[in-house]
């Protein structure tokens, strides 16, 4: 137990959760039905209102920063569905972002938690290591080891975190693990913009096809697409886990890399990456060498859906006949408030029938590293999301985030194609069937 005296209560003086943000909460409970952990367990301290209450008590110094508090903040997916639901305008996103680093600093993690986190942060942000892990995964499946391990019940004996990782890996063909867009893709017709594309880490390894489709669609819409070489992880996973210093270091490096591209816009096709890159201004506000550059960079970041919705469509769309269920990625819908744009883009494709998913505001349980560190809740949420998607009876499911694609695929029982919306646009613009565009 660590108790730090002072008017920041139990928090230390480095950017503690601010009193005036806490005072915005009037305890009305309108956030409760949007909260995934509350939907699963129905316990007040694992709801936004309860978490705010606990942060408030800590800010008053009435409870310590300890494992109890950390447990309830750890259990939060950071999906931020409570933010648009709040009539009083509580900025829970800021409260959460201020609380997590404090807990990382003051509450020691268990050995097991440290091991799991170290493993995750040693692999995911590094494409080469990620690719090696994915290759091992592919071999594990191809050689029948997976079936064997399941048959022998070995998998059931793994710790829950490893079991989740074992199950998350999608069945990707080996060649797509190495597929990357060319370093520069010229605009088709007159150039409207020069955009720099973020490749992502897990994204470029597991969803290289989505990156390729993104570059093609942007080019077809008159964007010259550059893929800045040597780009590394954006730090989203670190940031959302409360590892602020690591996230800031990654942010500085990414800004350095992208500034050399001299693009008008930085375009991202992963909701989680995009939302953290839009936060770089806050993350680096205290760094005199970077504050201004970070603000400029953050202002230039666009999700690919957002950017395409801003551009008057130029490339003709060919029909894609499918009933599409669009799943809102939390970091797109709640963190970036982008809900309408991807739907509008899909609706503009002839032949697409867009359908809603029941209980759409409840997160699928992916949430960065959440499905690896909190596997029980994540599994329950994944199962619920899959059931809701299947209830909508779509032909195709579209969602604009790598994490959601992995998580939802794991629980969909039917053989339902799961795509990034950009892949549908790509198929439409090229006039090829969706299955073929993805090959």
């Amino acid at each position: 137990m660590v108790l730090i005296p002072g008017d920041t209560g139990s928090f230390d003086a480095h950017h503690p959760p601010r009193r005036e943000l806490l005072d915005d909460c009037v305890h009305c409970g309108f956030c409760l039905p949007t909260c995934p952990t509350y939907a699963v367990d129905g316990e007040e301290m694992d709801s936004p209102r309860g978490r705010i209450y606990l942060i408030d008590l800590a800010q008053r110094g009435e409870i310590p920063l300890d494992r109890t508090l950390a447990g309830h903040i750890d259990s939060c997916l950071g999906c931020l569905a409570c933010v648009p639901a709040c009539p009083s305008g509580v900025q829970y996103d800021l409260l959460l972002a201020a609380t997590r680093p404090q807990l990382e600093r003051h509450v020691p993690r268990t050995r097991r938690e440290r091991l799991v986190r170290r493993a995750i942060f040693a692999v995911f942000p590094y494409p080469a290591r990620m690719r090696a892990a994915a290759l091992l995964g592919v071999l594990y499946r191809r050689l029948g080891l997976r079936a064997l391990a399941h048959r022998l019940g070995l998998v059931d004996r793994l710790p829950a975190e490893l079991r989740a990782a074992e199950d998350l890996l999608p069945p990707v063909p080996v060649r797509s693990l190495f597929r990357r867009p060319p370093p520069i893709v010229p605009a088709v017709g007159e150039r409207r913009l020069r955009v720099a594309l973020l490749e992502g880490c897990a994204q470029r390894v597991l969803f290289g096809d989505v990156n390729a489709a993104t570059a093609r669609v942007l080019a077809a819409e008159g964007c010259e697409v550059v893929v800045p070489p040597g780009q590394r992880c954006c730090g989203a996973l670190n940031l959302h886990a409360g590892l602020e210093d690591d996230a800031a270091a990654r942010a500085r490096r990414l800004i350095d890399t992208f500034e050399t591209a001299r693009a008008d816009v930085v375009v991202v096709n992963v909701a989680g990456c995009g939302s953290s890159m839009k936060e770089y201004d806050r993350l680096l506000a205290d760094d005199p060498a970077y504050a201004e550059r970070a603000a400029r960079f953050a202002a230039s970041v666009r999700d690919v859906n957002e950017l395409l919705a801003e551009l008057e469509p130029r490339a003709p769309r060919h029909p894609v006949r499918a009933k599409v269920a669009y799943h809102d990625a939390c970091h797109l819908a709640n963190a970036q408030r982008i809900r309408r744009q991807p739907r509008d883009l899909l609706r503009a494709v002839p032949g697409i029938e867009l359908t809603d998913i029941p209980d759409a505001e409840i997160c699928c349980g992916s949430a960065g590293i959440y499905n690896l560190v909190q596997p029980r809740t994540a599994e329950e949420l994944g199962r619920r999301k899959a059931a809701n998607i299947e209830a909508a009876e779509p032909d195709v499911v579209a969602t604009a985030n790598a994490g959601c694609l992995l998580q939802v695929r794991r629980f969909l029982s039917a053989d339902l194609p799961l795509v990034h919306p950009i892949e549908i646009l790509d198929a439409s613009i090229r006039g090829v069937p969706l299955e073929r565009a993805r090959r």
Binding site: D23, D24, C25, V26, H27, C28, G29, F30, L32, P33, Y38, D41, G42, E43, E44, M45, R49, G50, Y53, L54, L57, E62, I63, T68, L69, H72, C86, P87, S88, G89
Partner: protein, 480 residues
């Protein structure tokens, strides 16, 4: 074995909360001015577990407070320091939707709106619609006899519950009411609904479902004076029209809504009425014109008719989020809940404004004008030391409603908040009679003690078994 050990054994360690920090998240409901940390919170997963928990409490004389989503505005779910909170948030199953007999059977933790969602595939819905309907639970609705904007036409919770399975104070499980709306004998279900958790805990509810109306039309009418809007409401009802809802917002409330959501309200109007009509399309069309005419007669300055479902949704989202939206224009506030005879709306609003001026405190008004159910929002700043002044004003407003021939509470309940005002509305005999009903169900006063009744009969004493009145002992009066 101690009661806490017995509860832990009965419910399992995972469903019992004893950690002080966790307990504190249960110390208040939607009324944060009253906070009491309970000794324990239990989260039963079935009616049988609720009964088991209550039996332990009954054996050991431990008071218990049932809690749904904790959205109540009268402190009805305020814990007792030496007692437990029984959360019903793990009982969230829709047991059955019966479209043939127009009813649904649900567990108490199901939200009000989720009942309508479950009924929607059959073209049915559950009519009472408290503003917190996407959050508040049917168990809490039964306890508070909750209303909502559409209760003007459709009635309150009590008109829509056919049966309730309840756990009584001794742990007995029984069912009140039945499949038929007409049952012989005393209406015990009627007594239970609105009893604010003082008679027992509801563990399953059978509700009536209604067919969705064929047509719905909604308008917002602006007025240059609050009195004009109040008179228009009287005019509409006097014309024999029964709107689905008539709601009023004054300028402060409209400002709050505009700060919170995409607002369709005119920012600078003094007052606005939301009028909604539903029913057969022809009737609705005819009466809709008539309502507009009446509004104009009473000095309406502008009428906005919802052109589509989206505009209608925006009108209602704004109205229903208004309480919490007030958090945007004031650091702290009390939500008051009183009723006046409809004909005195303009008068009471004028008096509230004068009282607010005298106290130097702002009061926003947003309320169910159709049935005279006021919700004055008393805005204050705790940090600036305005709490006591605001609380006094809020109480005075409720008591003014009684003085004008109305009621202390329309739909939020008496709870912990207004128990001390009860003698303003009821005589000692009334209260004694109510207490006898309560002690018939709960002789030891373990079910949600400290609510509804002024304690002591003035303030502090626990409700207990019936004791003869001094006048009764003296032979001046006799028990009937």
């Amino acid at each position: 074995m101690s009661w806490s050990a017995e509860l832990t054994e009965a419910l399992g360690r995972a469903n019992v909360i004893t950690d002080p920090a966790r307990l504190r998240t249960y110390e208040c409901d939607g009324l944060t001015g009253y906070r009491v940390q309970p000794a324990m919170v239990v989260l039963p997963r079935s009616a049988a577990e609720v009964a088991a928990a209550v039996r332990v409490c009954a054996r050991h004389g431990v008071p218990f407070v049932a809690r749904g989503a904790g959205t109540g505005l009268s402190g009805g779910a305020l814990p007792v320091a030496d007692g437990i909170v029984i959360s019903l948030q793990k009982l969230r199953r829709v047991v059955e939707v019966d479209p043939v007999n127009l009813r649904a059977v649900v567990e108490p933790g199901v939200t009000n709106l989720d009942i309508s969602k479950a009924a929607a595939p059959y073209g049915l819905y559950y009519a009472p619609d408290p503003s917190s309907q996407q959050v508040c639970t049917i168990g809490g609705n039964v306890a508070e006899n909750s209303g909502g904007a559409h209760c003007l036409k459709y009635g309150f919770t009590v008109n829509h519950v056919l049966a309730a399975e309840v756990v009584l104070a001794d742990g007995t499980v029984t069912t009140l009411g039945g499949d038929s709306a007409q049952l012989p004998g005393y209406d015990l279900l009627g007594a239970f609904i609105g009893s604010e958790g003082t008679l027992g805990i509801v563990t399953q509810v059978t509700v009536r479902l209604l067919a969705k109306p064929a047509a719905v039309r909604t308008m917002v009418a602006d007025f240059a004076t609050v009195a004009g809007a109040g008179d228009a409401v009287t005019g509409i009802i006097a014309a024999g029209i029964v709107p689905a809802a008539v709601e009023m917002l004054d300028n402060l409330a409209i400002q709050a809504v505009a700060a919170s959501t995409e607002s369709v309200y005119t920012p600078d109007t003094v007052a606005a009425l939301v009028v909604e009509l539903d029913g057969p399309p022809d009737d609705v069309a005819e009466q809709f014109d008539e309502v507009q005419e009446i509004c104009r007669e009473h000095g309406c300055t502008k009428i906005m008719v919802a052109a589509d479902a989206e505009q209608r949704r925006l009108i209602w989202t704004g109205r229903k989020a208004a309480f919490a939206a007030v958090g945007r224009i004031s650091p702290d506030y009390f939500v008051q809940d009183g009723v006046v005879p409809r004909g005195r709306l303009a008068e009471v609003l004028g008096r509230i404004a004068a009282m607010a001026d005298d106290a130097g405190i702002r009061v926003a008004n947003v309320f169910h004008a159709g049935d005279g159910n006021l919700h004055p929002l008393v805005l204050y700043s705790e940090a600036d030391g305005e709490h006591d002044r605001a609380e006094r004003l809020s109480t005075e407003i409720a008591e003014l409603c009684v003085e004008l021939g109305g009621s202390l509470s329309g739909e939020h309940g008496i709870g912990a908040d207004k128990a001390c005002s009860m003698p303003r509305m009821f005589g000692e005999d009334d209260l004694a009679t109510m207490l006898r009903l309560r002690t018939a169900f709960d002789p030891d006063g373990l079910c949600n003690p400290g609510k509804v009744f002024p304690t002591p009969r003035l303030c502090g004493e626990r409700p207990g078994k019936y004791r003869p009145h001094p006048l009764e002992e003296a032979g001046v009066i006799e028990r009937l």
